[in-house]
Symmetry: C2
Subunit: 288 residues, 2 copies
């Protein structure tokens, strides 16, 4: 009846992502025939057609698409078992905190310092990740807690505690006329001639179309602003990495950004509780 092994899930995910048995088999370091067979067996056992093998290629059925999403979550959960178990077994368990490189640097520093001063504090490793990558790292057990920014980061499935809410600033090249302003509006900074918004890679690694430069890292972005090629709008506290060639101008009508600590729902531990309490104190002192 049931039983479904993770091997079968991995096979299906590979095929569903590649939409090509040969390439999927290559990715799995195996030959194509056993992969075809395994997926057929999976479909028979589920009693569900997951893939349409038409002439000229493979495509997902509706059920296959549903299964792909669920299977990814399940595989993440299985990976999380290994990672969290290994960390729980470490001589000094510690915590892993993940955040976007460069974001909320000052706040993070205050949080870590305050937590380290607590009695019974454990070591906190900081794991820098790409934009929007925190959720994945929490789900697959690579991290215990993340510093995230609402409304930018997806928070579904995570418990959170707010730390601070703040306005946003535009980072513009010092030489640009906008740098003279004391405040700006969203309308003024969107679609500035000669300063197109930079484009970040999407989930599949490709870039959306548009006039702005393609970037992968914060430092690339910083340099591009310094070169007068783009501008960006970020939370005020992120200006820590501002260059001499940058000018920060408040954007008065930009949506407020809330910095939060997020953790996988239900994955509390004594160490995490300590960090959350520290964060709550920080939030209280910041708002007073």
């Amino acid at each position: 009846m049931d039983g479904l092994e993770t091997r079968e899930l991995r096979y299906f995910v590979a095929v569903a992502e590649e939409l090509h048995f040969g390439r999927a088999a290559e990715r799995l370091n195996m030959a194509q025939p056993p992969l075809s067979r395994a997926v057929q067996q999976l479909e028979r056992r589920l009693g569900v057609v997951l893939l349409d093998r038409d002439r000229r290629g493979v495509s997902l059925t509706a059920a296959g698409a549903a299964m792909l999403a669920e299977a990814r979550l399940a595989l993440d959960a299985v990976d999380a078992v290994v990672r969290r178990t290994r960390r729980a077994a470490a001589p000094t368990p510690g915590l892993v905190l993940t955040t976007k490189a460069g974001a909320s640097h000052e706040l993070l520093k205050r949080l870590l310092d305050a937590y380290a001063a607590r009695p019974g504090a454990v070591e906190v490793d900081v794991l820098l990740c790409e934009i929007g990558g925190q959720g994945q790292l929490l789900r697959n057990g690579s991290a215990d807690v993340a510093l995230v920014h609402s409304p930018f980061d997806v928070l579904t499935g995570l418990d959170t505690v707010e730390i601070v809410t703040e306005g946003q600033v535009a980072i513009v090249p010092a030489a640009h006329p906008l740098a003279q302003r004391t405040s700006l509006t969203v309308a003024e900074v969107s679609d500035v001639p000669g300063l197109p918004i930079a484009r970040w890679p999407q989930h599949d690694g490709t870039y959306p179309p548009g006039p702005g430069p393609e970037v992968r890292t914060q430092s690339q972005l910083a340099q591009l602003v310094a070169l007068g090629r783009t501008l960006l709008v970020i939370p005020g506290s992120s200006r820590a990495w501002q260059w001499p060639e940058h000018v920060a101008v408040p954007v008065v009508d930009a949506p407020e950004v809330t910095t939060l600590l997020a953790w996988p729902a239900g994955a509390r531990s004594a160490a995490l509780d300590g960090l959350l309490e520290t964060a709550a104190h920080l939030a209280a002192s910041a708002s007073s």
Copy 2:
């Protein structure tokens, strides 16, 4: 390095729950020796000691306890793959809504009627579960959405939308002096001589100690109240199942109860969106 099959997780969970290789093997319908071997291999591959095999029995190490919690979540996620895939493949996919038997009956009826009247509404199956069982059913894919009650039900990992907030009433035997009152306080209904609060089974199936009667179902409870053996405090809308021998008295200082729809974070679908929208309308009309 990685790899971990669900079979290994099932084996470990069985042993960790039974704390006895023989019984665990019996539960798994296999012999004890291969089970011992499999768990040993698992420990070697992880490089982590999960179980202490002391004289007189088996016990979990700290890492083993952590792994047990994670493994249960992962196995639920794998089960969810099967259930949700099968449902997605059904000719008419439908939605499965779960709730505690007897709770918010009127509200549920209004919600389902209103949703059924929507264009494009799919069939909604109602799955009645035991107290507090909704989270498990959502996690393992047995249900798509649940009707839950804050602060009673655990909401971690679930996205929610509020429907209605209401006060609580005490359900007391009509023959009891308290039935004459027009309002009560928490202090008055806790520890009433001769009317001890009923006890519900815990997660492991055993009952907490105390003077109250042991119950498993709402109808048992209803009968016990009618017999004058206990009283209970529940949301006002739950009085639908009130008997002639019951009297409902508002408890003025009891915490308010919020009825919500909850669903696994990130598991949105077109059908679910329709139901949530209906619930939002219901909430708006109820508050106005």
